[in-house]
């Protein structure tokens, strides 16, 4: 609405150009100024984001392996050949399924832990709250590479403290497919729940305390208060953190790569991102890797569209 009104005003403007604008000098005659301000961002995004996306799509349509990269052989147009090869590849479907399930498990655990701890934060005094906040910030700040190595060390078969405490002997967590995925899941949840916790906590603090007190007076249980009062009021925030988590967890790379040493024994712990990387840079199948990248891009684009719809339904003004 606002945008339309202003546009109308702009259109009228040239007729009375000589009169000094009494109010809101900005917006009246933006001319080229906003584009000038936008120029650096558009150049960078165009060159290093839009153009590579275009290139990615292009490479996925060609036959592109080591022979073409080193300049020996000419590239040949394959059309959808790479995609056909991909869809016929049993491992691709396995990896896709593993990626979706793994991301879903990570998102659910992260959200559950983050929300539960956010509620917990509202019910304790300053000292325990500060302790939990600082610990969470520490986990949040830890780089993915170091987080991965530290968790590997904690669960190390020979020298890790976890096996000692649990009395598991020299059980190797990274050998089994599920225990390796479980280990990575722990690390991912550890380093991503703080974002959810801090954001949801900030959201709960913004809810007027009268509302919560009224609910408590009416005899609602904690769970009931969360489900029927807080969750609906926090919906916009929950949408943001859920979508962000989906996007982050769907494209986990470092943790899987480091913790399972490039995708696990015989590729049992591969996820799409690592699979694309291995196809391209380990097997020199650049076009296959690009095709996997396009598939990922499309899946995340679908998630984004859902997000945009939800935002729009909430009536967010852009």
């Amino acid at each position: 609405m606002v945008a339309q009104d202003t546009v109308v005003v702009e259109r009228e403007r040239p007729a009375r150009a000589t009169a000094p604008a009494p109010r809101t000098p900005r917006g009246r005659r933006p001319g080229l100024t906003p584009w000038l301000y936008l120029a650096p961002a558009l150049v960078v995004l165009g060159g290093l984001l839009a153009y590579p996306i275009y290139q990615l799509g292009l490479i996925s349509l060609f036959h592109y392996t080591q022979a073409q990269v080193s300049g020996g052989e000419p590239t040949s147009f394959e059309g959808l050949g790479n995609y056909r090869e991909l869809l016929a590849d049993e491992q691709f479907w396995q990896v896709l399924l593993a990626t979706v399930l793994f991301a879903a498990a990570c998102v659910v655990c992260t959200l559950a832990v983050g929300c539960a701890l956010a509620v917990l934060l509202t019910r304790v005094r300053a000292v325990p709250r500060l302790a939990l906040m600082l610990a969470a910030l520490g986990a949040w700040a830890t780089p993915a590479v170091t987080g991965s190595t530290v968790w590997l060390f904690l669960f190390d078969a020979d020298f890790g403290p976890v096996n000692r405490v649990l009395g598991l002997g020299d059980h190797a967590w990274t050998y089994g497919r599920f225990s390796a995925f479980f280990l990575v899941l722990l690390e991912v949840v550890w380093c991503s729940f703080p974002f959810v916790m801090v954001t949801v906590y900030a959201g709960i603090r913004a809810v007027p305390s009268e509302v919560l007190e009224a609910a408590a007076l009416d005899g609602a249980s904690q769970w009931r208060i969360w489900r029927s009062v807080l969750a609906p009021m926090l919906r916009p925030i929950l949408v943001v953190v859920t979508i962000q988590s989906v996007i982050w967890d769907f494209k986990v790379f470092t943790q899987i790569y480091v913790m399972t040493n490039g995708g696990g024994i015989a590729g049992q712990n591969l996820v799409l991102n690592v699979y694309a990387y291995q196809q391209a840079f380990a097997s020199s199948q650049y076009s296959l890797g690009a095709a996997i990248g396009v598939v990922m891009l499309l899946i995340l684009l679908a998630v984004t569209l859902v997000y945009l719809r939800l935002l729009r339904r909430q009536g967010e003004e852009l």
Binding site: A3, V7, R26, T33, P34, Y37, L38, P40, A41, V44, L45, L48, L49, Y51, I53, Q55, L56, I59, L120, L121, R123, V124, R125, P128, L132, M133, L134, A135, L137, G138, A139, A141, P143, V145, T146, V150, W151, F153, L154, D156, D158, F159, P161, R164, W190, A202, G203, A216, I247, K251, T254, A276, Y277, M296, L297, L301, T304, Y307, L308, L318
Partner: protein, 292 residues
């Protein structure tokens, strides 16, 4: 009005006490326990970094050490040009933070303080750009960097990271720029300030807290980068960054845990310090970005 409120308060307090007291001790104990569990990996990392080799390779690890030593750190800094990699990481992260903050500030100003055609389209494009799985772009970026002869240079890390932190930074800064009252802008123009002057001498300082919050994200994603360093810095080891150097000590068959933990500590401390410094602004900034 006041009387009613005064009269109401004790009752509310009573209610609050009744509702919260029984569970509070348990809740606080739980919070402290969770804090300990969450902090444990970092504690173990630092502890192991200071342990003598014999204690690390012990099958009965104790949660303390009586003989702290700098051996592991000496090995880390002695065996490789670790200082150089550290510096490389710092250069890349600082360059990305400064460049993306400035570029995002300009762009956020454009989309919040001006009304022009395609404004909404641009905003949606920034939102979509934020979702792009940058890892999928490693392949085309590799060829792009190769064609411009930038493989094995720090530019191959700086440039893509600027591009990838921009959409989120713009999206987040929008709220901060919007929060600056328009009356202030009018006043500045009436006092004869030019647009440029308003932008840099009035708006910029006011938005600075928001810029700090945004910088945290670009700093962390750049500092954490592993994939690009691994893919683009292929032959010139002197241009390596910390995350690559760290993995030298981690050989899957026989990892040098002391070295890995010491290197991890060196890599984690700067981020921790940065985080603690901006912690307050981060939390309030996030609240603003989300509410907006």
């Amino acid at each position: 009005m006041r009387l009613v409120r005064r009269g109401g308060e004790p009752r509310v307090n009573l209610v609050r006490r009744f509702v919260r007291r029984p569970g509070r001790t348990a809740a606080e104990a739980a919070a402290l326990l969770v804090a300990a569990v969450v902090a444990f990996p970092l504690y173990w990392m630092v502890l192991s970094a200071f342990r003598p080799a014999g204690e690390i390779e012990s099958t009965e690890p104790r949660p303390w050490t009586l003989a702290p030593t700098l051996d592991s750190f000496r090995r880390v800094f002695g065996q490789q040009e670790f200082g150089r990699y550290f510096l490389n990481s710092v250069v890349v992260a600082v360059a990305v933070v400064i460049a993306s903050a400035l570029i995002a500030f300009l762009a956020a100003t454009a989309v919040t303080r001006f009304r022009f055609r395609m404004r909404t389209t641009l905003l949606i494009m920034f939102l979509v750009a934020q979702m792009v799985p940058v890892e999928a772009l490693t392949i085309p970026l590799f060829f792009l960097m190769r064609d411009f002869g930038q493989l094995n240079t720090l530019w191959s890390l700086i440039l893509p990271h600027i591009a990838f932190s921009l959409p989120f930074a713009i999206w987040m800064l929008r709220g901060f720029v919007k929060a600056v009252p328009e009356a202030l802008e009018e006043a500045a123009y009436i006092d004869g300030a030019s647009r440029t002057r308003f932008l840099w001498q009035i708006l910029f300082p006011l938005v600075l807290p928001g810029l700090v919050a945004t910088s945290v994200f670009s700093f962390i994603s750049t500092w954490n980068d592993f994939l690009f360093a691994k893919s683009f810095i292929i032959s010139d080891i002197s241009q390596s960054t910390l995350s690559m150097a760290l993995l030298v000590f981690y050989k899957p068959d026989e990892p040098d845990w002391g070295g890995v933990m010491a290197a991890s500590t060196v890599m984690t401390i700067p981020v921790l310090v940065f985080f603690v410094l901006v912690q307050r602004r981060l939390v309030s900034g996030l609240g603003g970005a989300v509410k907006d």
